[in-house]
Amino acid sequence: MTDVSGAGRPGADRTVTGGSGTGATGTGGEGTGGLEARLVVRRGDFLLDVALSAAPGEVVALLGPNGAGKTTALRALAGLAPLDEGHLRLDGAELAPLPAERRPVGVVFQDYLLFPHLSALDNVAFGLRCRNMSRRAARDEAARWLERVGLAAHAGARPHRLSGGQAQRVALARALATRPRLLLLDEPLAALDARTRLEMRSALRGHLDDFEAVAVLVTHDPLDAMVLADRLVVVEDGRVVQTGTPDLIARRPRTDYVARLVGLNLYRGKATGHLVRVDGREAAVTVTEELTGEVFVAFPPSAVTLHGERPVGTGARNVWRCRVAGIESHGDRIRADLTGELPMAADLTTVSAAQLRLTPGAEVWAAVEAGQTHAYPAR
């Protein structure tokens, strides 16, 4: 069981305590708006157990590697996968016993799943027709939604005539048209090419800003998560491993996965004063913070300088003996993957990589200024 504390918008903070399967359903009073859930889904050996909470208007991103259970969590929220345990309250009402079609939920699927035999307009009108709205009224309302997402001109187009970005906007309009109290987005930008993705990311951010109820999005892309969400919930192997604002997660990752996502070298160790002894290694890191006990230390690959000879410098400098395990180019930078005293990723320019004759297997000295590191308590 992992606690997920909201740290997003003021008033959004909420700590969820799990445990018993069904708590008392809140009726009225404080804390009944928005989403409050503990989702437990077993599938063979895999166990998903995450707690989620979100205030109305808040956008929460479930971020995690493939197979972490993000999509399962989303399907549980939508009613497409039954809960084995836990609860799911939305605006104070328990949704868990309701089938998908009776939940006030809208879903934007990863590949949109627009009905291929219906026009864009009829796709958007579908949910309204299912709610017994007359054909005429449903179409009028759908047309307004298409206009909102800037697709009024494509109302009559079948999905196969739409570009990826257009299809995504139709899917969004279709999900929003029924005015859900919970909007779920499964990798909403994953199916788009890089250029469209950039445009759609900011457009989607705008629509999410306008959305007054809870939005939960699932993504494995940290940039999508950071741009779109007010709060991130990092899920690994069916558990929540970290939660917080994008800013907090980016500065203080708590797992290797998150550290890699945000591009930081991360170590766990024991601090005594300014010195952190890295767990399971002979290495230590000098930091500027003064801490005691279990801590994390992080520094970006760009803070690492590599040297052919042991550098002679001031005491505030960390120096480790490493070996190059691999090199790849990232644009105009070279990313070196190092093993040895302290494994890490290091970024350097193409010129310095050439000067150092950086080849796999080469022995190097890696140095990091103490001022470039960031240490924070592990608990």
Binding site: L80, E101, F109, L113, H117
Partner: protein, 285 residues
Amino acid sequence: MSGGRPRDATRSGRPGRVAGSLRPFGRAPLALLLPALGGLVFLLLPLVALLVRAPWAELPAQLGSPQVWEALRLSLLSATTATALCLVLGVPLAWLLARTDFPGRRLVRALVTVPLVLPPVVGGVALLLALGRDGLVGRLLDDWFGVTLPFTTAGVVVAEAFVAMPFLVISVEGTLRAADPRFEEAAATLGASRFTAFRRVTLPLIAPGVAAGAVLAWARALGEFGATITFAGSFPGRTQTMPLAVYLALQSDPAAAVALSLVLLAVSVAVLGAMRDRWTAGMGG
């Protein structure tokens, strides 16, 4: 099924022909080429014989006989009604087999295909035992509603539907399995009940498969002989369909039999051709 999913070629499940995989005719190994040509001749020769030996001179007179049109009308009517019956009962059955899990599903699926392998005459006997005047259910039908099926036009429809339905069920079930069930999930999240999702999403998506299954069933029903003659007999104007008329004519008036055969051939080729162009254009055919 094609035209199904947008931008998702990998999921469409359409085998298609790999470009460039066709080799020149002359390069085919003889060991395959000879039996292939033999097979072709074997399939076409009877049709050629039918056309060559047809009494073309007598044909107008033969076709002028009211019995021909009576039999044709009955055949078309009963095959079409049987196909409608197959659709009404078979599509839901295919959906059940493809989309739900229940104990004994595999057994039910196997049972559905039994009429496929059952000799039609045996099927007719079985129908008599079930729906005959003294049959398991037929007796009740007679007692309660005064309905008797054997030796009536309705009996012809029942016999044809019995042998044709498996074709439809198998075809539709295959299409349903290939269709992405997530469209039904998307419909559910939009508030559609399972039946609404089936009616407004699944059915339009599998329409080409349903049409193909209906064509198969119709063709099977049109040619049905064994079960029909056993269960419904051969009464001109009531239960004597074209195949029955052809067979009976062969004993007394071979020229008439050939003429009837030509009509049946022309009708089935015309209908199948029209259906194929119209409905199965998206089936990769």
